[in-house]
């Protein structure tokens, strides 16, 4: 798996970045070709955390396979579970109660905020500012507490099931979310003061890792990476699921396509997520949190595709069913995988420091790429 490390052309240096490296955020292994400080080629080597979840799911029932998806993109595990619940509901035409839909969207958006907070801290750390990481975790901790209160877990949550949610929300849920919103609002301006408006940070981010709209589409980019290049691709807008059709929010779009545009998109998304939560939190309807479903779920023969918007982009689930209790073939389309494929294109000709900044701005989660 390791390439022979040495020189290719005169003066070219081949370096293994990762799988143990501070800025790869996991076991990503990149083989980079350098000419001095300039990056000539980046080649990802994957598979260090490949668990073959797709194969695993072929022997799990439609109720069981949801839980392994929390282990893919662990920063948006609720949203992954949501996608899986949606596809089973679609196949069986289950009507999900309003209350469950509200709770799911609320948890999705909280997850998105938590994920972006972590990304924000990690992004700043990648360009050399260590302090913001701790500030991001201070706020993220509150969301983790809410998650723990609601579903018992802080990272790999399992709460959404076909037909709604596993349990009802905690009695304090509304209050703690509101407290968090007030707290987080006061801190967001701090984020701008500390990082966004910093001239060194802007110099590091602007005009770095530029990807054009055409290339972003061709590389199959999604989420903030594509939106920063001006591609309209928010699944919540294009094919709304659950109560997304009833809430008002803007799709965060930028046109520059550089690291700073991706940064701004994610910052805007946090604000939009807060807007969505504000609209929903006071109006959670009374009623069931779960629809009545059969004990054994069997998807009719055929194939199904559902996608949702995770914190990293378009997450798709494709199920080929033969009518059995387990899927015949299941495919997870992960946003990080496609975003990673554009990394080589973005980094060519930039410096090593830029490579790290670009990787940070792509917000890669390796278990999501390897699956």
């Amino acid at each position: 798996m390791f390439q022979e490390v040495g020189t290719t052309e005169m003066g070219d240096l081949i370096i293994n970045v990762g799988p143990q490296h501070p800025s790869t955020h996991g076991v990503l292994h990149l083989v980079i070709t350098l000419n001095g400080e300039t990056v000539k080629k980046v080649e990802p080597h994957l598979g260090y955390i490949h668990r073959s979840i797709e194969k695993m799911c072929e022997s799990l029932t439609y109720r069981q396979f949801i839980y392994v998806t929390s282990r893919m993109d662990y920063l948006s595990s609720h949203i992954n579970n949501h996608a899986c619940a949606l596809i089973v509901e679609k196949g069986l035409q289950i009507e999900v109660p309003q209350r469950a839909q509200y709770i799911r969207v609320l948890l999705d958006e909280l997850t998105r905020i938590a994920s972006h907070q972590l990304w924000w801290g990690a992004m700043a750390m990648d360009v050399g500012a260590i302090t913001p990481f701790f500030h991001a975790f201070r706020e993220r901790e509150v969301i983790n507490d809410i998650m723990e209160q609601t579903c018992g877990a802080r990272l790999t949550m399992n709460f959404m099931v076909p037909g709604g949610c596993m349990y009802d929300i905690h009695p304090d849920f509304v209050k703690s979310v509101k407290d968090f919103m007030a707290f987080f609002r006061s801190k967001l301006s701090e984020y701008d003061e500390m990082v966004t408006n910093n001239p060194i940070f802007q110099a590091r981010m602007k005009d770095v890792g530029v990807i054009s709209k055409e290339n972003a589409i061709s590389y199959g980019c999604s989420g903030p990476v594509a939106r920063a290049a001006g591609v309209v691709c928010d699944v919540r807008k294009l094919s709304p699921y659950d109560v997304y059709s009833q809430v008002n929010f803007e799709e965060a779009l930028e046109t520059e396509g550089d690291c700073f545009a991706r940064y701004k998109v994610r910052m805007k998304e946090m604000n939009e997520s807060m807007r969505i939560i504000d609209q929903l939190i006071d109006n959670i309807p009374e009623g069931d949190f779960q629809a009545k479903t059969k004990a054994v779920l069997k998807l009719p023969k055929g194939d199904y595709y559902t996608n949702v918007e995770t914190a990293r982009g378009d997450f798709g689930v494709y199920i080929v069913s033969e009518g059995a209790t387990t899927p015949y073939r299941i495919k997870f389309h992960s946003p990080g995988f496609c975003n990673l494929s554009a990394l080589d294109h973005m980094t060519r000709g930039s410096k090593i420091g830029d490579l790290v900044a670009i990787m940070g701005s792509l917000d890669l989660v390796i278990p999501d790429i390897d699956r």
């Binding site: 798996m1 073959s52 022997s59 061709s218 055929g302 798709g316 073939r329 995988f337 494929s341 390897d370």
Partner: protein
Amino acid sequence: MIQEKLLSICPAAVFEENTQWPTMNIDSAEWRKLAEALKNENDLAFDYLFCVTCVDWKTHLTMVYHLSSTLHRHTIVVKAKIADRNNAIIDSVYNIWATAELNEREAYDLFGVHFTNHPDLRRLFLSEDWVGFPLRKDYEDPINMIKL
């Protein structure tokens, strides 16, 4: 309307009924020609390849391509049947959709589909000396695989 257009490009295609999106079944040999048309025809303009899947049907393999257009906002699913399972060959589309390069490597790694003209067809997740293709239905691994 799109169906007629596509049938004129690829007369042997069969469309499925009652599907979420128009789904056409073609033979793997026609894939490259169809792909170019899908991308380049102005009223099709399928520029966004968002899911590449391989399905093992025990007798044959199927490559499933989910395509959509960011311009017209329509989606199509193309299922290319690869009849010979032991010598699975299909054209690569990496120069039509850049995302295909890595996705095709994944399909090669896990299903053993050979993509002709692919610039760098190597194992992606597994090590170079891995024997067999794990996501095929007849793959057996007594050590690493846990049967539930």
